[in-house]
Symmetry: D2
Subunit: 140 residues, 4 copies
Amino acid sequence: MNETPSPEFQLAQEVFAGQPFTALVEAHLLRFETGVAAIEVPHRPQLLQQHGFLHGGVVAYAIDNAITFAAGTVLGTSILTAGISVVYLRPASSGIVATATVIGRTKRQAVVNCEVHCTDAAGTDILVATGQGTATIIER
Amino acid sequence: MNETPSPEFQLAQEVFAGQPFTALVEAHLLRFETGVAAIEVPHRPQLLQQHGFLHGGVVAYAIDNAITFAAGTVLGTSILTAGISVVYLRPASSGIVATATVIGRTKRQAVVNCEVHCTDAAGTDILVATGQGTATIIER
Amino acid sequence: MNETPSPEFQLAQEVFAGQPFTALVEAHLLRFETGVAAIEVPHRPQLLQQHGFLHGGVVAYAIDNAITFAAGTVLGTSILTAGISVVYLRPASSGIVATATVIGRTKRQAVVNCEVHCTDAAGTDILVATGQGTATIIER
Amino acid sequence: MNETPSPEFQLAQEVFAGQPFTALVEAHLLRFETGVAAIEVPHRPQLLQQHGFLHGGVVAYAIDNAITFAAGTVLGTSILTAGISVVYLRPASSGIVATATVIGRTKRQAVVNCEVHCTDAAGTDILVATGQGTATIIER
């Protein structure tokens, strides 16, 4: 895509990149548009577990963060992630992309689904994990 | 505790420390005994999100890993974590300890609860998050 | 639809209607096709909780059963539901339809998302709850 | 127990028995004390699925309701269950007891664990399923 990112996307990328833990993981915000956010975690040896696959904690990080940013596209920035559930389908041996989609909301809460994909050595797209979570607006 | 760690605990600590992502997070395996595993993630500025609290992804990492190691105390080492659910109760502003306890098992599967605690500035123990998950023996 | 149901759909409807608890709830199997199953629970006073809304347990029943039948469209009939997670968004004051969609599978397991909708007094479609779950093939 | 139930327990039993769906299932409130609630669902042929085991939807109903009542012991009666997760460990071939325990709370929310047990033909206690959920105080 050669399109200029929207101001909202640029701001979200700054917030995302400003998370110290995201800088440690070296993740990128790929998409940020109404109802959708996507996060890429490129392959790095530092992100693996003892069998050479991507650590499940990295997958959970990506799901947590993608769900929070997707919820932010509809609820604004004063939100907290209330909970997530994660199903691990297959170990990932490459970088991943976590794409989160808002499937419903109330005045205070959004519920978000997430899919985590990687690409195997043959170039085939693989579903690594799925998640579901909710974020709520912080009461003042 | 001045007790010498059991050989199983020492081995588990080596496996744990051998996870590259765990080295990046700088977590420690505190406990590893039948049905229980505990992981400490000491406070570090690199583990925060944009508001200065511990990143939810770090909490999810600790729950994922504590559940897997607790399941390993009863199922052995050839296991995969099948899924986790996480409830975030309060943001953490210090290091955390995630303690996972096996509450039941079948021949192939264990179900594990997890609590994540931190200590606030006044020294009070705080429940940060809870988790529940399952791990299954890998089929050969 | 005036189409004749497929033989698979007719068989699934018989299995579904043969569940004694489903007969007690008076639910119907609306859809059963590759990757998708939908269940209708018509409004009945016997299905409510103390505030006059549909009991959360009925919503959970519908999600559990829709996920199991959707998984059955891709894994066959020798399956067990391993787990579900449910997010309740709004109370339902009418009958509901739970639609479950398989979003991925391995050789032994399917992961399934589910949405539960109702129609309010003004005829508007409302998202009541969402779910996610897994089913696995029974080992012999 | 020959003790007279507390007034709170008696009131909770009335609310519980006043749920039309609970009357349809024929469940009983066994315990209701600070931080704990337990629900019994006695064996009945009407509660089974097609293989002769207790329907997973009945297990989910018991977990949902036990979590809600346990949360009510600490949050009061103006609450909604926000979500539950369920892990099914083994099919139940008898009645079940779901015991829910509050493991933490904030001002507005409680997080609750739940275990579902049955007794097999030999009189052995069996863990059928586990759950975790949250309930929140309704905003006025």
